[in-house]
Structures are given as C-alpha cells and as structure tokens.
C-alpha cells in the first residue's frame, strides 16, 4: 500500500483512497454543477435536489432521469433507461468480485455504494498489484468524490441563474473527458488506446453537436468503424489481451 504508515490495513487503505482522490474530487466538483443546473431547470426544489442526489449518487443516471422527467416521459421509460445506463456497474462489480472473497456482507454492501466510475478507475491499478485493502480504498475514495459531487450539484442548483448556458453544457461534457484522463494513465496496448480513442471521440461528437458542427458526427462514426475494422484485420490479436500477459 502506498505510504501506509500505521493502523489497520483497512483504515490505511481508506486514508490512501482519500489522499489519492483529491485531484479527482476537484474534477468532479467541476462537472457536478451540470446536474444541479438541470435540476433547477426541471423545477426541483433544494430539498428535492438533496434527496435525489443522495438517493441516486450517479451523475449519468441523474442526467438521464432529469431530462426524461422534464419531458414528462412515462415512469417505465425513466426506470428502464436509468437501468440501462447503470448496467455498466454489473461489469465493474464483477471484475472486483474475486477480490472480495474475504469481505463480509456489510463490507460488500458498503463497497457497492462506493462503486463509482471514478473511484473504480483509481482503485483498479491497486487491485491488480494487490497492494491495498480494496474495500477501505473504495470507501475513502468514494467518500471524498461523493462529497465533491454533492457540493457541486448544490452549487449548480444555487448558481444556476448566473451560469451561462454554454458553460453549463461544457460542465456536463467534462464527465467523459475526466474519465478519459483517468484511464489514460492505464493505457497499456493498442486495444486500450483504441478504446480510449472511441470514448474520447464520443465526447468530441457531443461537443461538436452542441456547437452546431453536425458533420463531425458521421465523420467520427466512419473513422471509428474504419479504425476498428483495420485493427481487427491487421491486428486480430489486439483484442485478445488475456493472451498477452
């Protein structure tokens, strides 16, 4: 465990999670106001924003739910689409499952709460090196990240009237870029690089669409397809990374 000095492995990991998530929390605080602004536009009161944010604690899910609620879409659609965008958590949690064999029920329940994209991205290198108590690290990281998220959402709700529309939109787009920056340091091969590129291109498409550059969307789609087909044609083993190690 990095710089672990004293205390139990779990408490040391918790401190490490907090310490290593400082910069990440700043990034989260930068994009979270987008959720608050959207909440204000949807007519939610401060109390409703607090309840919704604490109950859900997921920027993506809240953005989806708020947009659908503002359109008065049926409940089943809100729940279904929320479930769909959250389904990535199944894969994330499954990848951590083998490392929680010794964790008790309470620890797993709390770790489920702490499973965010950001904290997962920070924690997984430690998981691979097995140099940290996973539960403690995720609790510490998510605790700080969620505090920043709650604060950012409330700030966005409070300052909604004073934030220009373009700034609010750009804040919402920070989320993909933040995660791309997080995983960039983990890129270890062509498939990784390609995947990060696709994710980044998706963000670029959104920026272009918001700025009115519509032609970029099909261009990026074509580029992604060509890159994928090319990689599969000339580097068929690029996606078989289980065989690389």
């Amino acid at each position: 465990m990095p710089n672990a000095t004293s205390g139990s492995p779990r408490s040391s990991a918790l401190i490490a999670g907090v310490r290593e998530s400082g910069l990440l929390a700043l990034g989260v605080f930068a994009y979270a106001p987008a959720v608050g602004i959207l909440s204000r536009e949807a007519g939610l009161s401060a109390g409703a924003v607090v309840v919704m944010t604490v109950a859900i604690t997921s920027g993506t899910a809240q953005l989806v739910a708020l947009q659908l609620l503002a359109r008065h879409e049926p409940l089943w659609l809100v729940l279904w689409l929320t479930f769909v965008v959250n389904a990535r958590h199944f894969v994330m949690a499954a990848s951590l499952r083998p490392h929680l064999e010794k964790a008790g029920l309470g620890a797993r329940l709390l770790t489920g709460w702490a499973l965010s994209d950001e904290s997962y991205a920070l924690a997984f290198p430690h998981v691979q090196r097995q140099d940290v108590d996973l539960c403690g690290y995720l609790w510490g990281s998510a605790g700080l990240v969620y505090l920043a998220f709650y604060g950012g959402v409330l700030f966005g709700w409070w300052a909604a009237a004073g934030i220009p529309a373009w700034a609010a939109r750009m804040a919402g787009l920070l989320f993909p870029f933040l995660l791309v920056a997080l995983i960039a340091r983990q890129v270890g091969g062509r498939a990784d690089l390609w995947t990060v590129g696709v994710a980044g291109a998706s963000g670029a498409v959104l920026v272009a669409a918001r700025l009115g550059i519509e032609w970029l969307a099909p261009a990026v789609l074509v580029a992604n397809t060509v890159a994928t087909l090319g990689l599969l044609r000339w580097e068929p083993r690029a996606f078989s990374r289980e065989e690389e190690g």
Partner: protein
Amino acid sequence: MNGSAWLLYLAVGLLTYFTRVAMLLAGRAANIEGSLRTWLTLLPLSILTLLAVLLLGDTMIAFPSGIPGVAVGLAVVVSASRVRSLPIVVVVLAGIAVAALWFR
C-alpha cells in the same frame, strides 16, 4: 416535493444501487464474462428503446447524455480488467450515440 417524486427518486436510487452491488453479493460462480453476457442481452433492448424514444420526438435526451458516460465507464473496465470482447460493446454504444445525433 410530492410523494410520487420521492418514490421515483427512491426507485431510481435503489435501481442504481442494485446495479452496483448485485455482482458483489453474487456467489463464487459470478464472473465478468457472465456479466458481459448481461450487457450484450441489454444492448438490443436498449437499441429498441432508443428507437422508441427517437420516434417520440426530440432525440437530444437521455441517450446522447447517457451513452458517452456508459461508453467511457466501459472504457474504464476495458482498460482495467482485460476482457477481450468489451471494446466491441464500446463501439456499439458510441455508434448508438452518434446515430442518435445523426437522426436528430
């Protein structure tokens, strides 16, 4: 805030928490490939839902906001967990987002 709004937020929150904790509570048989199969099962349904939403009118909702988050979230998984088939899922999701913008 009325009662139905409380219930809705609670329902979305519980749903989100379920997706986070389900695989952590699963037995030893749970593995990432099984979870991936869940994803692949959801994809066709997601596409159908997207098409339904597109037909409802303004398409600049939900998926264009959600899919990049999902795609990048999956990119995190791909980068960290070394599962071979997930890049394909990522490009499909990115394609859906782009398609939504194209048909907008």
